[in-house]
Symmetry: C2
Subunit: 189 residues, 2 copies
DNA sequence: CCCCACATGTAATCCGTTACATGATTAT
DNA sequence: ATAATCATGTAACGGATTACATGTGGGG
């Protein structure tokens, strides 16, 4: 149940139309909560029906016309409630680690190239975060709001740093590994 | 599309019944790909229908009776194919970071206790991983298979280490923060 | 005999993804 | 006029979660 609250947060920061939200979910907020435009439009409809947001009164009927939304008091209250409520962290779910585990059983053929690909993408993301850090959080800029935002960004930076290092480790391990492909302790195949 | 492959991997390691798989998904494999028993039973049905696995012939008809499965050659082939195929990493999705961002808008009241709770859980998970490391990967035990498994475990350890550190950082930040709750630059509420 | 744990499932709902549809505006 | 682009949606599907249902076997 996070998407509606992500949208409420974005709309509080700045009232927007569906497409503008979609754009913003490709940057800032999307760095840790992505969403497609279909999800966003559907959710905007629900939020409006529940009385959490409303369309800005600019008299646009329907399709093809821009339609901006703003948060109503009930929406802000709901977001406040959700922010303060306790939630358990979800267990980790990572396809790449799963694939490595599978590779330990059926052989590592082909996986190395993909590790390189992942490494490339994580490096790029890390560079993007570091650019943002230099631009938006120069040393000595700390209002309370800034501190929180910077804390969030640092999580992103540290996570990408972890993945980058771990993937380099993994690739090193693979180079040292005998290139044998299927361990095949199971010879029935 | 990872669950069926997680199940195939688990069944290759050891033929099992649905409940046994559920148990194993609460430990080892579940550390990076969790699944409920409902998901597992449904998926076992599909995998059997597709000819990837079969029930071990022990003549059990239906409900209440144990029913074990083993992987067929087609299943192993499919797992091999999937392991080698390239996949893009999914963008990060983390409700806690989202909540912090929301807190920067509607106030940080109540969130600190939950950060402590998360910290506790991550510390516990880290301790569990480290125990496994000492038990299963003592220094000097490196068959190729072991190296891969250890690599995967190290990812878990490093991730939990990251979260533990980051949460301690965050809590420190909160203590330094003025205890004001709603920044409320928006006074229309 | 009854209850509980073991074991296997079904049903309803929600969320996310993919593909497609439609209207309005602007440039050529 | 027409094509491209902006903008808002619909429909269909599949995976995950939650709640519930059903049957077996053993201990008290």
């Amino acid at each position: 149940m996070s998407l509606p609250h992500a949208i409420l947060t974005a709309l509080l920061e700045k009232p927007s139309s569906g497409l503008e939200l979609t754009r913003r979910f490709d940057r800032s907020i999307g760095y840790f909560w992505s969403a497609s435009h279909q999800q966003i439009y559907r959710e905007l409809g629900k939020l409006e029906a529940e009385g959490y947001i409303r369309a800005l009164p600019a008299e646009q009927p329907a399709r093809g016309q821009k339609k901006s939304y703003e948060v109503l008091p009930a929406g802000r209250a709901e977001l406040t409630r959700w922010t303060a409520a306790s939630q358990d962290p979800k267990p980790l779910r990572d396809p790449l680690l799963l694939r490595l585990r599978a590779a330990a059983v059926v052989g590592t053929a082909g996986i190395e190239a993909d590790l390189r690909h992942h490494l490339h993408l994580h490096r790029r993301q890390l560079a993007e975060y570091e650019e943002i850090q230099q631009r938006d959080f120069p040393p000595g800029s700390h209002t309370p709001q800034n501190r929180l935002q910077h804390l969030i960004l640092r999580a992103g930076i540290d996570l990408e740093t972890f993945w980058t290092r771990w993937l380099m480790d993994a690739l090193e391990e693979f180079e040292r590994l005998p290139a044998q492909d299927p361990p095949s302790r199971d010879s029935t195949v």
